[in-house]
């Protein structure tokens, strides 16, 4: 009886073993999918680099031309605005709150500038991208009042001791604390040039990152060191556009930030009088301060680099393409000969 069962079992197991193990045919498993197989033939090489050349050179010319059309006035004032007597000790001057910081200078417009004309300030050697600096801000605190005690990231500009109670600084952190506070007043032909300071910040910043209910608090009370500018405690953060612009940290140590816009056009040879408050300390780390007036062109601000780079890459491609053409014309290779190989040559010797 048992025997019967066992033999049956074996019979069935044998029959299952005969199932074919032949792999199923499919183009995928046999690695035969239809494929595009480009090869670097001379024709392809020449065609593609010529294509790049003919694409890049016009783009380069265009952007260089566009850049040249942009009128930009860059005026460095950090040295000019330093009174004679403080030349040797600029830091003492800037730290002296009693010294007169007002400074009046004239700049000439080289070419006609059409509105909108953007007013920037430019700082050099200012590391807004320093790790300590970048992190030192309280994003949540900026957004809503409820989080004003979230100042962990902001040390050492986090709290002030008001009558022995630790009270948070709003906005906290080094970035806000070091707010740029030079001001510019422009006059053209005795008339004040109105600088529009609305709409200089990114929309997403004013709408979502800076709260309309958050008001500055305990800002710049300054125990040991005075930082940069002060804020009007009556205006909510979302409307403090200078602060918002400043708090978008720059990527590189030389940077410009938008100060405002001028909506009148300037003619060539116009002389603009700038009355500026030279408050901001760049002297202690040897930084420069510049005032920039610039129009925008077909492709934005003035930058020759992009055009030149396009032209260079295009030029290199053109040069290489010509070389290749000459090579193939004067020294064509025989049809691919498999023996043309290093180890084969060795073996043949």
């Amino acid at each position: 009886m048992n025997n019967q069962a066992v033999t049956n079992g074996i019979g069935s197991s044998r029959s299952t073993r005969r199932i074919s193990k032949k792999p199923q045919y499919s183009r995928f498993t046999q690695q035969e999918l239809p494929a595009w197989k480009p090869i670097l033939t001379p024709g392809w090489v020449i065609a593609s680099i010529l294509a790049i050349a003919f694409l890049f050179i016009p783009i380069g010319l265009f952007s260089l031309f566009a850049s040249k059309r942009v009128v930009e006035i860059v005026y460095r004032y950090d040295q000019d605005c330093l009174p004679e007597m403080y030349r040797g000790n600029a830091t003492a001057y800037i730290k002296n709150s009693d010294a007169n910081k007002t400074c009046i200078e004239n700049i000439t417009v080289p070419k006609r500038m059409d509105p909108p004309i953007y007013v920037y300030y430019q700082l050099d050697y200012f590391y807004q991208n320093h790790r300590r600096y970048v992190k030192s801000r309280g994003d949540k605190q900026l957004r809503s009042v409820g989080y004003e005690f979230l100042t962990k990231e902001c040390e050492p500009e986090a709290r002030v001791n008001k009558s022995k109670i630790s009270s948070p600084i709003v906005p906290c952190g080094l970035i806000a604390w070091s707010l740029f506070n030079d001001t510019y007043n422009l006059t053209l032909r005795e008339k004040v040039l109105n600088i529009n300071k609305k709409g200089i910040a990114w929309k997403s910043d004013t709408e979502d990152k800076f709260g309309s209910q958050v008001y500055p608090k305990n800002f710049q009370l300054g125990q040991d060191m005075i930082g940069g500018g002060k804020l009007n405690e009556k205006i909510p953060l979302s409307e403090q556009e200078d602060l918002i612009v400043w708090m978008r940290t720059a990527a590189l140590p030389t940077f410009r930030k938008l100060y405002g816009k001028i909506n009148t056009s300037l003619e060539a040879h116009d002389i603009i009088t700038v009355a500026l408050q030279n408050n901001y300390n760049t002297y202690s780390f040897g930084g420069q301060k510049k005032l920039v007036l610039s129009t925008t062109g077909w492709i934005d601000g003035k930058n020759d680099f992009l055009g030149i780079a396009y032209l260079m890459v295009g030029g290199i491609c053109l040069f290489m393409a010509l070389n290749f053409i000459l090579l193939y014309v004067f020294k064509p290779r025989p049809l691919g000969d498999p023996s043309y190989l290093s180890w084969n040559r060795k073996a043949a010797n």
């Binding site: 066992v6 590391y127 990152k209 990527a251 934005d300 680099f305 691919g336």
Partner: protein
């Protein structure tokens, strides 16, 4: 009981030789002591002792549910790179970290999780197999009857009943079997790969326990050795009725072997589960790593040192800059408030700050180390293995076996094989022996032409063959029309169809075939359904003899313990004859012969003997003299034709002589002493003399299909092929010609010890002197070979050399002081044949080649004797042929036929090598590109450790934006199609010379990475430096520069990938362009999250980047410029120093090659056939649906 009881026979008598072999008594003395302490109470289930031992539950899994997490984690962190990332992840919770801890933990968890999931799936498969094995059923004795139980519930001491063709569930002590004398046959294929049946024998006093009821009173105690892994010894005592009986392997049935030819057996469980010998033996084969992977480790170290050095440079600059912040008591960068700072930035302690920054740097530049490299490579290799397994061109229809990659970590090594070491029998040949010729009484019969003869004829350019053979050509038709019989390819009208009686020496012919029919150890098996007779033989040779005898008319049909019965044709009538079997002197490799002593119906005593010519000719009687020369002549001819020969002889014995000899022989067999074997041999020697020569047989081991073509291809690919065979030198050389290993015009350097002076020396007994002389002789021959190779004449004429060496010479050539010279000569020869080599020598030769040349070796073999070689070589390929699974189990790849090696190496090997090499190179490229952009940015942030990008961009870099295209490259890329790979085998040298993964190329790619990062950073920086970046006057800030640079990196590395591959299926397109597209998708989605989550990425793309023409123009410029250097390099390279595949591609593009396979159906019949099959299959389906 269903089966017949008429077989009340005493087989033990015939096989007494093996059964009565006493175990060594010295070990039995140790029973009960340390190492021999196991006590088994048989048939006593209530005894508490049984509980002491492990159950029969077997688990081969690596992990259990409990230890999976800790153990697999531990495995993961054995990799240096993973430890690094773990440390970084831990440190990232401290303020040292340049980014959020979660963003560094995520990729680590992802990678570790993926690898662990892979491990888990693999282990789950193993577990399923275990469950299957554990739940098999077995009949166990309980409460006076046998009932079914699961394997895993078996306990030590249980009585079990195993039926025919079942596996033994544990190591058993054989008590009795369906045969009255308690023997049974066992197949141990799962253990040692041997297919022949082994005989086991129970004690007489237990053999009488014949049915289920007789076990009621049975009680016994076994004391034996503790579990160990030695398959070939067993020490123990059986205590029954106060008598001690020493146990040996003869009573021991091993788990996983199979009961054959026996209806059932009874046994007692001795070892269970993991205590069984087979489980004790189950150690993982040594895991092999490919050369590329080993080099990859070195590259990782290079990257680590780069990482350390750039962190170091960064921290020095940081230290200097921080130090300058405190200038004569005043603070410079006041906006950083250096007066109230932490140790990280403290200008008063710049040294400490620099050191802490160094740690930060190690984390920040960690992107240089490709975290996902290992897991990607593992995934890719598994997928590559699937392609190997699925390849239809490596599927063998007859045996129903596809190719199988048993390990996936050697795929790319297949593309770098420099030397193939091949076994001959079963690997190059089919290992199905065919009886083709014989020489009887000085006349050669048999007209079939062997493959070797055809090759010989070709080589000698002889058009006119032997007379006897030419006739065959015309009669080819008749040969073909005959029903083909496996193992028999003999055709001669003088012998067949009973015609032999008309031959002048018909008497000899009759005796000759009788010897073939009687002198063997085969067992006949009748197929119950068809009534056909088949034979179970120890070797295919033997089966061929019995079949030949049957075809001529001496049909062996029954074996009992005392008689062998034949159907014989006599005068056209079929009569049964029975021969009484008196003694059997077994075959051994030392004796090289086998004899039986029989008494025939006429009461004549006869000794029938067959053996190797080298021993048999010494034993012939004077009266055989006239035949001897003619037969020797024939044997030499046969050997030349690549046939295996045996000499057949007999001797009539007289009663008295036999009687005295028999007693002596019996005494020798039963003696208990160390030199028992030599006593038996000496006794055998006495009777095996004065033999009368009958003739010789010639058996062909057919070459496998396609072997010569395959070998030719492989040697065209520049792969050296060594054949290691146990054959005679002449046979080996001729097989060498047949499979085109040797060619006409090749010079042979033959190294042998068969010279007369050595032979003369061997007559003496002084072993040292012989060894010394042999060594000298070998040295001289090797040096001669060397000078032949070096001679300017041969060098200039580019003659190819072949080295042929025999086993004895090999022993000396492999010694320390000759090894170098031997290897030197051998590597300069294009082919090497080692004849008469033992399994151990095979392994030694492999080791020597592997270590001596430092190149990749591949060993291929099919038998248990090749296991050493397979494991020693860098890659072991097992032929899953007739000789069991042992070689396959020890191999890394298994194929069904030798000819598949061509496709495995030239196509899959080449592709896998290329894919993995490119993949690793590219991995380093993309990570260096990314890592260095961080460094350049860092240099512009006064080395403060601020990353240029948002944390999550960085952690997704290796996981989402760049990983899939690399995997697609690793799995699918092809430089040239399979057909061209095979057409231009030289292409394979790209792998052998490792030109796709040599240091210049790797460093070149690394340099390319650094270059790309510089181009990306400096173009991005300069093109957007500080001007208005949009027409509303906004300028670029930290967030936007990060997005811009990151966009450029994603574009650059993905386009670089597109540029460096030249095989685009929809998969490549999808992954490459999809990755880039996904970056934008990610940016948009991430930017729309709340500002708390998205931080610096909030609306950055939609609001700031996308509307700016600068953003797009810069991306375009950067991508074109990063690609140009590599593009130019490749353009110049293909022009001035093309690689081989470039040449092939050029030919293809210039119309030299037709790419579509359909136009050349003759070249790819299989492929086309499969396609047609596939199509017709679909047609059928659609018809049915209609």
């Amino acid at each position: 009981m269903a089966f017949k009881r008429h077989e009340r026979v005493q087989f033990s008598k015939i096989y007494s030789l093996s059964c009565l072999r006493p175990s060594r008594s010295d070990e039995h003395g140790q029973i009960g002591q340390k190492g021999y302490s196991r006590v088994v109470y048989c048939n006593d289930p209530d005894n508490l002792e049984a509980v002491r031992y492990r159950g029969n539950y077997v688990s081969t899994t690596k992990y259990t549910a409990v230890n999976f997490i800790p153990k697999s984690l531990f495995e993961q962190f054995r990799r240096v790179a993973n430890i690094y990332f773990l440390v970084v992840a831990c440190v990232s919770f401290s303020p040292l970290a340049p980014f959020q801890a979660s963003s560094i933990l995520f990729p680590l968890l992802f990678v570790i999780g993926a690898t662990m999931a892979k491990e888990g799936v693999e282990d789950w498969r193993r577990r399923k197999q275990d469950i299957k094995a554990n739940n098999r059923k077995i009949h166990v004795y309980k409460d006076h009857s046998f009932s079914e139980r699961k394997w895993k519930d078996l306990r030590v001491g249980d009585l079990v009943k195993v039926y025919k063709d079942e596996y033994f569930p544990a190591d058993l002590l054989l008590l009795s079997s369906s045969y009255p004398d308690g023997i049974c046959y066992v197949e141990t294929m799962n253990l040692d790969g041997e297919t022949n049946l082994k005989l086991k024998h129970a004690f007489d006093f237990t053999a009488s326990l014949q049915d289920d009821d007789s076990f009621q009173q049975f009680k016994a105690v076994v004391k034996c050795e503790d579990p160990n892994e030695d398959l070939y010894s067993f020490v123990g005592n059986l205590c029954h009725n106060n008598n001690q009986h020493p146990l040996s392997l003869q009573q021991f049935l091993l788990r996983d072997s199979k009961l054959r030819n026996t209806e059932y057996v009874y046994g007692v469980v001795i070892f269970t589960g993991h205590d069984t010998k087979v489980m004790q033996n189950a150690t993982d084969p040594p895991s092999k790593r490919s050369k590329i992977e080993r080099r990859m480790d070195k590259i990782i170290y290079v990257l680590f040192s780069t990482l350390i050095s750039i962190s170091f440079i960064g921290s020095i600059f940081f230290g200097i800059r921080t130090n300058r912040d405190l200038n004569h008591g005043s603070y410079q960068r006041w906006y950083l408030e250096p007066s109230r700072t932490t140790a990280l930035y403290d200008p008063k302690r710049p040294g400490l700050a620099a050191f802490l920054h160094f740690l930060t740097g190690l984390m920040l530049y960690g992107y240089l180390i490709p975290i996902s490299l290992y897991v990607s490579i593992e995934m890719v290799k598994v997928l590559q293995s699937i392609f190997i397994n699925q390849d239809l061109d490596m599927y063998h229809e007859e045996t129903n076996r596809p190719a199988r990659a048993r390990t996936s970590n050697l795929n790319e090594e297949l593309g770098q094989v420099d030397t193939i070491l091949s076994d001959k029998t079963g690997t190059l040949t089919c290992n199905s022996m065919e009886f083709v010729k014989c020489s009887i009484a000085g006349v050669s019969y048999g007209r079939g032409l062997t493959e070797v003869e055809l090759a010989l004829a070709k080589r000698k350019n002889v058009d006119q063959l032997d007379d006897a053979n030419t006739s065959n050509v015309s009669d080819g038709q008749t040969v073909k029309s005959r029903k083909s019989i496996k193992g028999f390819n003999f055709w001669d009208e003088r012998i067949m169809d009973g015609q032999w009686v008309n031959e002048p020496n018909s008497d000899s012919i009759q005796k000759f075939f009788r010897v073939l029919a009687i002198c063997h150890t085969a067992i006949p098996e009748v197929n119950k359904d068809t009534g056909e007779l088949s034979y179970e033989a120890e070797s295919p040779d033997e089966a061929a003899f019995v079949i030949a005898a049957k075809e001529v008319g001496f049909e062996f049909f029954q074996r009992t313990q005392t008689h062998i019965s034949l159907h014989e044709c006599e005068n056209g009538k079929k009569i049964d004859r029975s021969y009484e079997l008196l003694d059997m002197i077994e075959f051994s490799s030392a004796r090289k012969r086998m004899s039986v002593i029989i008494r025939n119906a006429e009461n004549q005593l006869l000794l029938l003997c067959k053996g190797a010519d080298s021993v048999m000719f010494d034993k012939l009687s004077k009266q055989s003299q006239p035949l001897e020369d003619q037969t020797k002549n024939h044997i030499n001819k046969y050997a030349e034709a690549g046939l295996r020969t045996l000499v057949i002889a007999y001797r009539p014995l007289d009663e008295v002589e036999y009687k005295t000899w028999h007693d002596e022989f019996l005494a020798a067999k039963t003696s208990v002493s160390v030199d028992r074997d030599s006593l038996v041999d000496a006794a055998a020697e006495k009777i095996e003399r004065d033999l009368i020569l009958l003739g010789s047989t010639a058996v062909e081991d057919k070459l496998q299909k396609g072997v010569p073509e395959c070998i030719e291809k492989l040697s065209n690919a520049g792969i050296k092929i060594w054949v290691l065979t146990g054959d005679k030198m002449e046979t080996a050389i001729n097989i060498g010609y047949a499979c085109r290993l040797l060619a006409q015009g090749m010079k042979q350097i033959v190294i042998t010890l068969d010279s007369p002076d050595i032979k003369a020396l061997e007559k003496q007994t002084d072993r040292d002197a012989i060894a010394k002389a042999s060594r000298e002789s070998i040295r001289k021959q090797l040096e001669e070979g060397r000078s032949q190779l070096d001679s300017p004449k041969n060098k200039s004429s580019s003659v190819l050399f072949a080295l042929i060496i025999d086993g004895r010479s090999l022993t000396f050539a492999l010694e320390k002081n000759l090894e170098g010279l031997f290897l030197d000569v051998a590597t300069d020869c294009s082919s090497v044949i080692c004849c008469r080599s033992s399994p151990k020598q095979k392994a030694l030769v492999t080791k020597m080649v592997k270590e001596g040349t430092r190149k990749t070796t591949l060993a291929i073999g099919d038998g248990a004797n090749d296991v050493g070689m397979l494991q020693e070589a860098d890659i072991g390929v097992g032929i899953s042929g007739a000789e069991g699974m042992q070689a396959v189990m020890a191999s890394d790849f298994a194929i069904a036929q030798f000819r598949f090696l061509e496709r495995l190496l030239l196509v899959h090997g080449h592709w896998c090598y290329r894919r993995i090499a490119m993949m690793i190179r590219y991995f380093f490229y993309k990570n260096i590109t990314f890592g260095f952009t961080l460094f350049w940015f860092e240099a512009h942030a006064s080395f403060s450790g601020q990353p240029a990008y948002n944390d999550w961009y960085m952690s997704f870099y290796n996981v989402f934006f760049t990983s899939l295209p690399v995997i697609a490259l690793g799995v699918f890329d092809q430089d040239v199609s399979a057909r061209l790979c095979l057409k231009y085998p030289r292409l394979y040298q790209e792998g052998v010379q490792n030109i796709l993964f040599n240091w210049p190329r790797i460093l070149g790619w690394m340099f390319n990475g650094v270059l790309s990062s510089m181009i990306i950073f400096f173009i991005c920086k300069n093109s957007t430096i500080h001007q208005a970046f949009r027409d509303d006057g906004h300028v670029i800030d930290y967030e936007i520069l990060g997005v811009l640079m990151y966009t450029c990196v994603v574009w650059a590395v993905n386009c670089q990938m597109a540029l460096s591959i030249n095989y685009f299926t929809w998969i490549q397109h999808f992954f490459i362009w999809g990755s880039i597209f996904f970056w934008y998708v990610f940016l948009v989605i991430y930017g729309y999250l709340k500002p708390e989550w998205s931080t610096t990425a909030y609306r950055v793309f939609v609001e700031a980047c996308a509307p700016s023409p600068f953003y797009w123009m810069t991306t375009f410029l950067v991508v074109a410029s990063t690609l140009l250097p590599y593009f130019m390099y490749r353009a110049f390279q293909t022009r001035f120093h093309p690689m081989y595949h470039d040449e092939i591609l050029r030919r293809r593009s210039e119309g030299g090659e037709v790419e579509t396979s359909q136009t050349t159906p003759a070249e790819l019949p299989d492929r086309v056939k499969d396609k047609m099959d596939h199509l017709s299959e679909r047609m059928k389906h659609s018809h049915r649906e209609i």
